[in-house]
């Protein structure tokens, strides 16, 4: 299945890219998407969203999902 991966802000700069199209086996989680994309440990403070909603690392992903990783937010 294909997952649309996005990185934002300092995380995007550290990883050197704003996202990726990831082909991954069925029954994957958000944590596995991170591992496949970055091949490095996930920082403890990273926030995750699937299809624009906050989720935890063990949340499952499905074909066509948009999965985003980003640092703590600092708006307002």
């Amino acid at each position: 299945m294909t997952i649309d991966v996005k990185f934002f802000a300092s995380l995007r700069e550290r990883l050197g890219r704003s996202g990726a199209q990831l082909d991954i086996a069925e029954a994957a989680t958000v944590a596995e998407v991170w591992q496949h994309c970055t091949e490095q440990a996930m920082p403890a403070n990273v926030l995750m969203a699937v299809n624009l909603e906050y989720v935890q690392a063990e949340h499952p992903v499905h074909d066509g999902d948009e999965v985003a990783f980003f640092p703590p937010v600092t708006g307002g």
Partner: protein, 145 residues
Amino acid sequence: MQIEITPEPLYPWQRLEAYERQLAQIGKYGATAVFVGTMRDFNEGDDVAAMHLEHYPEMTEKYLRNIADQAMQQWSLLDVMIVHRVGSIQPNETIVLVAAWSAHRADAFDASRHLMELLKSRAPFWKKETLNSGTTRWVEKNTPG
């Protein structure tokens, strides 16, 4: 209800005046609570020259709309407005405007505070500062209050 994310300069008092002029509930609200967030020229002990605000467009809009809808259900509100800047911002410019209208003050005060706290802790915006020295850095965390 008005939820807007804009790269244009934001003039909160003009915004409020224009919005109140066309509010359908004229005569029904006795309380308007307003929060205006303004860019400082200092942070973490350093002089700040400019700022860039990045966001996750679709999620930001959806998140702000959700919390405004929830606030309308949780409190007795007549209307809610959230406007937030993105892009390049200079010191003394408005970053965010939150307003809540209600019949009596408690709902407007409580709802506007609640909306601001959720916006600051969960809405996907990120600030990158340019210091007077020319150095740039990401803001790592918001102040607690």
